[in-house]
């Protein structure tokens, strides 16, 4: 079936699009991010842009918002051709962005932040005047935020409210939400959806950028699907089905996604990793992990679920020896010997055969300016003082073949690789050294669906075949549900619920946000 089938042109020729993009092209080192992309946003609609990670959604949005400049193609706002080279240009044209990571300055107050957007206040005007104005307007729009509080003290939802308030104060005609709902708990999501519908009813348009199909189906009027930088089609939400959209998003690879069963062992071995009453501080000096105890058996996968920022990251870092444990102990039982590795330093822990996939893996776990071989040779378990490049090369060649890493050669700089392949290099290296255990945080973040499946399957199969024990924390609950034998939910630094695999998603979610 050709993708053209879905190309149902919209019928509302009479409605002039408020934003129109024509024939956009954009390349980055090693990848063409957008290929001849066109898009129309009509007045008074909620328009979803759907696609997996790396499909080009955010590149498109960044072009509309003046952060990237297209290699080719034109933009029209209100029918007028414009060159947008900064967010200010976009705002002037009536487009305001609410992003996944709120674009606010943490150390400034809400009033100070919003004053920067409001051109009616001159540069010498005092911040106090802005505070007063915000209180009035907030009351008018029904958005209540203390204008004099510093932004870092706000919750994630509150920050998003500030961004929405800002969009309203700027008289936005189109508000773009860039994965803005992805990290919100369900109840908060609903509030945002209600707001979108309200905004639409007043004649505004919403551009909803997301990789979640149900979300697009729930709130949007029309959906434009992107795949590998190309528009697959634009469909009217009321006239399409979930399966049709899924096919548009994944194409022929849909079958690969569906065959997603993991082989699991029924019987687990003895305890390998034993953690008792662990207390760890965050960067701000407060306790982020408050007396956590657990043990993981040989071949067992412990998944740690939770809303981001509840101590998962600090716990994982403590296990990897990268953060000091203030109290409690971390012990390993290897071949009958019990080794206390609490605060033993990361080199020592890594040499024992512990693999580690860090948060923001592509940023922290590989070096883009070095070759694949160098990225492998850097591991202290893999090289001694002198590097035998011959050995490294053959290991690298094996890993490239085994993990089907797409690269010109093992000597190529890592930056020519795509995000998915970079991640495979990292996972391949860490699985090679994980003789005893693997510790991971968000191991598939930023990967496309297929690579995600692949990485998860590798982790599971290594646990099963070699008896490696795994502790994985992830902000993606689906991931935890999929691969874990035991699911622990972390909330405010403690384990608030421990479940066997097979527990219902609702049950876990309930504990997560309570």
């Amino acid at each position: 079936m050709s993708t053209q089938t879905f190309f149902s042109l919209n019928g509302e020729k009479s409605l002039n699009p408020i934003i129109s993009a024509r024939g956009l092209w954009k390349s980055f080192p090693g990848v063409v991010a957008l290929k001849d992309v066109s898009l129309d946003v009509l007045p008074g609609e909620i328009h979803a842009i759907l696609g997996e990670n790396g499909a080009g959604k955010s590149t498109l949005l960044k072009i509309l918002y003046g952060i990237y400049v297209p290699d080719k193609g034109d933009l029209f706002f209100g029918g007028r051709k414009v060159v947008v080279t900064s967010p200010q240009d976009a705002v002037r044209n009536g487009l305001v962005l609410v992003s996944q990571v709120p674009q606010l300055i943490d150390s400034l107050t809400v009033a100070e932040n919003l004053s920067l957007s409001l051109s009616q206040f001159g540069y010498v005007s005092s911040v106090r005047k802005v505070s007063k104005f915000l209180l009035e307007k907030g009351r008018e729009y029904g958005v209540r935020v203390d204008p004099d509080i510093e932004v870092w003290k706000l919750s994630y939802t509150q920050k998003q409210l500030v961004e929405v308030l800002r969009a309203l104060l700027l008289n936005a005609k189109v508000i773009a939400f860039d994965e803005a709902t992805t990290l919100l708990p369900h109840a908060e999501k609903e509030k945002l959806y209600d707001f979108m519908k309200l905004f639409k009813s007043k004649g505004g348009s919403v551009l909803l950028v997301t990789h979640k199909i149900p979300e697009a189906m729930e709130v949007s009027d029309r959906i434009t699907v992107l795949r590998r930088g190309e528009v697959v089609g634009t469909v009217r939400t009321s006239e399409t089905t979930l399966d049709q959209v899924r096919y548009m998003m994944f194409g022929e690879r849909l079958t690969q996604l569906n065959s997603g069963k993991y082989e699991k062992l029924g019987e687990k071995g003895s305890e390998v990793l034993v953690v008792r009453d662990l207390w760890v501080r965050s960067d701000y000096g407060v306790y982020a992990v408050k007396g956590v105890s657990f043990s993981v058996r040989k071949g067992e996968i412990l998944g740690i679920a939770g809303v981001a920022g509840n101590g998962q990251l600090e716990l994982i870092q403590a296990l990897a020896g990268l953060r000091k444990s203030e109290r409690g102990s971390i012990r390993l039982r290897i071949n009958g010997n019990e080794i206390d590795v609490t605060n033993k330093g990361s080199t020592a822990i890594r040499r024992l055969g512990i693999g580690y996939i860090p948060d923001e893996p592509v940023k922290k776990g590989v070096s883009l300016d070095n070759s694949i071989e160098e990225n492998i040779a850097v591991h202290p378990r893999l090289t001694r003082f002198l590097i035998r490049w011959g050995d490294v090369k053959s290991l690298a060649t094996d890993l490239v073949r085994e993990f089907s890493i797409v690269t010109p050669s093992t000597n190529a700089k890592a930056k020519v690789l795509s995000g998915g392949n970079l991640m495979k290099v990292l996972v391949a290296r860490e699985l090679t050294v994980s003789k005893v255990a693997l510790v991971a945080y968000n191991p598939t973040r930023g990967l496309d669906e297929v690579s995600t499946r692949y990485v998860r399957r590798l982790i599971v199969s290594k646990a099963v075949s070699e008896g490696m024990c795994v502790v994985v924390a992830s902000e993606d609950l689906d991931e935890i549900m999929e691969i874990s034998d035991v699911i622990a939910v972390m909330n405010s630094g403690s384990f608030v619920g421990v479940f066997k695999s097979g527990v219902s998603r609702e049950e876990v979610e309930r504990v997560m946000v309570s």
Binding site: P29, G30, S346, T347, Y356, K363, G365, V366, V378
Partner: protein, 399 residues
Amino acid sequence: MRLIVVKRVKTSNLYYVGIPVLSILAGLALSTLIFASIGVPPDLFISEILAGFQSPQTLRYFALLVILGVALTMSFRASIWNIGAEGQMIWGMLAGGYIALFVAAQSMYVSPSDLPNYANVPGVEIIDASPVKPVISVLLMDPSLGKLLMVLFGMLAGGLWALIPAVLKAYLDIDEVASTLILNYVAYQLFNHLVSYNLRGLSVQARQFFRTDRMNSALLFNLIPGTSVTVQEVLMAVIFFVSVVLMYRYTAVGLRLKIIGSNPQLLRSVGVDERRYILLAMFLSGMLAGAAGVSILANPGIGKLEKIANVVSPPTMNLGYTAILVSWLSILDLRFVPIYAYIVASLFQGSSLLQSEINSLFPELSLTGAALTYIPIGSILVVYVILRIFTEYSVRIMR
């Protein structure tokens, strides 16, 4: 119409060669203009700079700049901006000088009547034949061992001095550019203090003079005939260059020093404490700078330490700053260091030829050494820093 800077899809190799060369030409053109504005004829400027390329004196700066270029490249590649080579060289000189004057040899007074007896004694040298208080220097060990000790202690001192800003950076996150630079001023003053008191020579009679004795000439390095470069400094340049290249190519330490510059978080995530490698990069860098300091001291043309009259003209000849140019123009690639060391050495020599030429032809222009070295160096650096972006970015015009 707007100009837009965009990241290149592919980085351009052509630019790696073209941009340093273009920077040198443009920087020199800019300097020619600046000097022409007060009446230095452009043709004189250019011809003297070109003369630098053939001057035998250039070889000396070449050897020193290779050592310093390798030293700085090692720290720069680790993303540590060691601007403190000046201070590290100063400590190399002090430690080397201490060995030469107090350990490998020793100065002592003799009575004027005894003086002729010492004229032909092996290992003894008359360094001040003053009729009142003559001074001799007595060799206390084999001079080759003495020279080796001078170099080793000079390197150690330079390395230790470099560890101060390294510790501040690694453990307290204090910017090393500022601290290495400020420590240069501290080093200059401590040098003055030590030279004026602790290391002050017996042969220095007048109260207002502050310097050490002349070194025993057996401890001086050996000049290559017809030049002002010594065998030892050429040897050091070769040894350092080769061993550092090999270290980067074949050792885990070298690989980590390289990776700390591109992504220190990777080291941390694979369990290597990146702070230790910050210390190591600076220590090695300081060691080589210290060796360069010893080479300057042990050159037969110098052979002693003298109080710095003005911080713009220290005994290091500002080569510690000049070497930044070598390292940057080489795009932090060691293979290019000798090439740019030669070019920069020629410019350096050219500007001092220019200075003596101007002083004799146009004394009324009164140009200082500082103006003649800093302006061309600074201009080339500024142009280079700006042009450098074109290796990874291109500029486009949007209608």
